[in-house]
C-alpha cells in the first residue's frame, strides 16, 4: 500500500514536471493519452465519491478531460499542478451537477434508483445514510467539499491534499476540521428535523 502511494506520488511528480506540461500544451497526442490513462481513475474516483449516480460520474469524468483540451487549445489550463487542475475542474462540474439536479427536483426518481441499486450492494439503510451524508456534504462550502473529497476519495495525506489544492498544510488542516464540524452540525440538524416530524 505504502509502496503504491509512493510510486503514485513519483509518477505525479514526473507528470507535473514542466516538460510534460509543455508538451501537453503543444497538444502532443502521446502525452495527452498518457495523461488521460494516468488521471482518469483519479478523477473518476473523486467524482464517484461525491455523486452516487454512476452515469453522471462517467459523464463528468469525461467532461473534465474535454475541458482540459479546450483549455490547452485556448492556451489556458494548468501551469504546474495538472492533477490539482483536473480535480478542481471536477469539483466545479460536480457542484454544477448538484445545482442542476436540485433545480430539476428529481428527488422522487432518485429514491427509486437508490432502492434498486441498494438491493444489490448494500442495505437500504446504508444507502439512505450515505445519501444523507452526500447531501450534507453538498451544503458545505466548495473548498470544504473539495478537501473532504480529496482526503477521503483516496487515502491522500495532508501534504498531498495541500499540494493539490495549492494551499499550505496548516490551511488544509483548518479547512478539514471546519468541514467535519459543519458536516456534523448539518447531519445532527437533519436528524433533529426528522425526529420532530
Amino acid at each position: 500500500m505504502k509502496g503504491e502511494v509512493h510510486i503514485r506520488s513519483v509518477v505525479a511528480e514526473i507528470m507535473n514536471s514542466e516538460t510534460i506540461l509543455a508538451r501537453a500544451r503543444q497538444l502532443d497526442p502521446l502525452i495527452l493519452a498518457g495523461i488521460h490513462d494516468q488521471y482518469y481513475p483519479v478523477v473518476y474516483r473523486y467524482v464517484r465519491y461525491r455523486l452516487d449516480d454512476a452515469q453522471a460520474c462517467e459523464d463528468i469524468a469525461a467532461e473534465v478531460f474535454l475541458r482540459l483540451l479546450d483549455a490547452l487549445h485556448h492556451h489556458r489550463g494548468p501551469n504546474q499542478n495538472l492533477q490539482g487542475w483536473l480535480l478542481g475542474t471536477a469539483s466545479h462540474l460536480v457542484n454544477d451537477h448538484f445545482r442542476s439536479r436540485y433545480l430539476r427536483k428529481m428527488n422522487s426518481l432518485e429514491d427509486q434508483e437508490l432502492i434498486s441499486s441498494a438491493s444489490t450492494e448494500q442495505s437500504v439503510d446504508q444507502a439512505w445514510q450515505n445519501r444523507e451524508v452526500r447531501e450534507a456534504i453538498f451544503r458545505l462550502t466548495e473548498d470544504q467539499q473539495h478537501v473532504l473529497a480529496l482526503r477521503f476519495s483516496e487515502d491522500r495525506s495532508l501534504e498531498e491534499t495541500a499540494r493539490l489544492m495549492g494551499k499550505t498544510i496548516g490551511a488544509v488542516k483548518t479547512l478539514q476540521f471546519r468541514a467535519l464540524a459543519s458536516l456534523r452540525r448539518i447531519l445532527e440538524g437533519r436528524k433533529n428535523d426528522r425526529r420532530s416530524l
Binding site: 497526442p29 495527452l32 465519491y49 462517467e58 479546450d70 477521503f152
Partner: protein
C-alpha cells in the same frame, strides 16, 4: 505543541479508521483526547463510508479516452451548441428556464395586480398601469382605462380598511356628502383638516384626486385634494349647441369654456375637461392645435410638462353654487399656494396666476394671454389698471424715466397680484403710486 500533537493523533486515528478498525478501539489509545476526537472521527467515518466504489469502469474509461483523442485531433469534433444532440440535450433545460421565467413574470404580474399601497410590488402595479395609459392612443379607451384604474385605487383603499392597515393612499372619485354631512370620495369617507381645506372650495359632484393616510377607523385623512382634469387631443366630429363630439367623446361646452383659436368641425383640438357626476365631460378649454402641436403633445416625455402647464385652469372655479366651507379664506397667503390647490375666485375668467380672495373685484380681461406673456406694457393694459390713464407716458421712448418704470409696475403687478389694488387690505396698492405721480 499540543495542537500539533492533536493533529498527529487525529491523522493516525484516520489511518486506522480507513483500515476498518472500529472507532471505540481507535479512541482507546488516546483517552485524554477522546472528547475532542470522537465527534470529528465519527463524522470522518461517515464521510469515509460513502466511498464505496473504488473500481473504475473500464468501458467508461475507454470511451472517454477515445472521445478525448478524437477531440484532440479534430477540435471541432466537440459538438457545437447548434448540433442536434446538444440542442436535444439543452432543449429540456431551456424549456425549464422558459417555464420558470414565464411563471416568474406571470406570478409577479398576478402578485402585483393584487398588491396594496405599502406592498413592495405596488410600485410595479402603478407603473404597469401608467404604461398602459401611455400606450393607449385612443382617448375613449384611455378615459375608460383611467376610470378602471380609479376604481381599482378605491378598491385598494377599502381592502386596506378591511385588513386594518393604515398607510399612505392616493385615489380619485366623485365628491359626495354622506347622510351625516361628511365628505365622501367615491364612497370613501375623508377627513379634511383645516389646513387642507383652507384654500379649497369643492362641491358635490366634483371629480377629485385625493392623497392622504388611511386611518384605522375607516376614513382617509386628506393631505391634498385637487380637481381631476382630463386632457386629450382629438378631432372635432360635430358641434350641436353645447354638445360637442371630439374623437368619440361627448363634451359639454358652456359659457365658462375658453375657446382658443376658432375651433370648427374637423379641427384638431386639445381639450382640458372636468368630469361631472353624470359622466359628462365639461370643457374648461378647447384649443385648436396644429398637427405638429398634436404630435408634440403625444411625445410621452412631454406629457407631464404639458399637463402641468395646462392644469392651471383647474383652479378656476365658479362660486355661484353651494361650496365647501373654506375656513382660511379671510387670510390668504399669497405665494404659498400649491399649484393645484384651489382658490375661490369670483370671476370665472380669471387666469390661474391670480389667486385672490373672493371679495376681489372682477379683473376683466386685463390679464389675458398676451398680456401675461409679453412684458411690454400695452395701452389697454394701462387703461385697465390706472384709473386716470395718461397714454403718452408709456410708449414714448423719450421719456426714459416713465418707460423704465412701467415695466417695473408690470412686473409688480403680475408677481404680486395676490395683493390686488382693489382689495380692502391696508397696504398701498402698487398702482396707486403711479397714480399719485400723475
Amino acid at each position: 505543541m499540543t495542537e500539533d500533537r492533536f493533529d498527529l493523533i487525529f491523522e493516525e486515528c484516520l489511518r486506522q479508521i480507513r483500515r476498518g478498525i472500529p472507532l471505540d478501539q481507535v479512541l482507546k489509545a488516546y483517552p485524554e483526547y477522546e472528547t475532542r476526537l470522537r465527534p470529528l472521527l465519527e463524522t470522518a467515518a461517515l464521510a469515509i463510508a460513502i466511498n464505496l466504489q473504488k473500481t473504475v469502469p473500464v468501458k467508461a474509461q475507454a470511451k472517454s479516452k477515445s472521445n478525448f483523442l478524437e477531440a484532440l485531433f479534430n477540435p471541432s469534433h466537440r459538438a457545437p451548441w447548434y448540433s442536434p444532440a446538444v440542442l436535444q440535450r439543452s432543449a429540456r433545460s431551456m424549456a425549464v428556464v422558459l417555464i420558470i421565467l414565464t411563471a416568474g413574470l406571470v406570478c409577479t404580474g398576478i402578485a402585483s395586480a393584487q398588491a396594496l399601497p405599502g406592498d413592495s410590488l405596488y410600485p410595479l402595479k402603478i407603473t404597469a398601469e401608467r404604461t398602459r395609459l401611455l400606450i393607449t392612443n385612443d382617448p375613449v379607451q384611455r378615459l375608460q382605462l383611467q376610470n378602471e384604474f380609479d376604481q381599482e385605487r378605491t378598491d385598494e383603499v377599502e381592502a386596506l380598511f378591511s385588513r386594518n392597515r393604515h398607510t399612505a393612499v392616493a385615489f380619485a372619485g366623485f365628491l359626495t356628502r354622506s347622510s351625516s354631512g361628511g365628505w365622501l370620495v367615491n364612497h370613501v369617507p375623508i377627513i379634511l383638516l383645516e389646513v387642507t381645506s383652507r384654500k379649497v372650495t369643492f362641491q358635490e359632484g366634483d371629480y377629485v384626486d385625493v392623497q392622504g393616510m388611511a386611518l384605522p377607523d375607516g376614513t382617509v385623512m386628506v393631505e391634498w385634494i385637487r380637481f381631476r382634469m382630463s386632457q386629450f387631443n382629438g378631432r372635432i366630429e360635430s358641434i350641436s349647441g353645447t354638445e360637442w363630439l371630439v374623437s368619440g367623446i361627448h363634451i359639454q361646452v358652456n359659457a365658462d369654456t375658453q375657446l382658443n383659436g376658432d375651433p370648427k368641425v374637423g379641427n384638431l383640438v386639445g381639450i382640458i375637461a372636468a368630469q361631472r357626476a353624470n359622466q359628462v365631460l365639461v370643457a374648461h378649454s378647447i384649443t385648436v392645435k396644429t398637427v405638429w402641436q398634436d404630435l408634440w403633445d403625444r411625445v410621452p416625455i412631454n406629457r407631464n410638462a404639458t399637463e402641468a402647464s395646462t392644469s392651471e385652469p383647474e383652479i378656476q372655479r365658479s362660486a355661484s353654487t353651494e361650496s365647501m366651507p373654506a375656513e382660511g379664506d379671510e387670510n390668504p397667503q399669497p405665494g404659498s399656494t400649491e399649484e393645484h390647490q384651489v382658490e375661490n375666485t369670483t370671476s370665472p375668467s380669471d387666469t390661474p396666476e391670480v389667486e385672490t380672495e373672493p371679495t376681489r373685484k372682477p379683473a376683466g380681461t386685463e390679464e389675458s394671454e398676451p398680456a401675461r406673456n409679453t412684458r411690454t406694457p400695452q395701452p389697454d393694459d394701462e387703461h385697465e389698471r390706472i384709473p386716470k390713464p395718461n397714454p403718452t407716458t408709456t410708449p414714448e421712448p423719450g421719456q426714459g424715466q416713465q418707460s423704465t418704470s412701467t415695466p417695473d409696475r408690470e412686473e409688480e403687478h403680475s408677481s404680486k397680484s395676490p395683493t390686488p389694488q382693489y382689495s380692502p387690505t391696508p397696504f398701498p396698492s402698487p398702482s396707486q403710486k403711479p397714480d399719485s405721480e400723475h
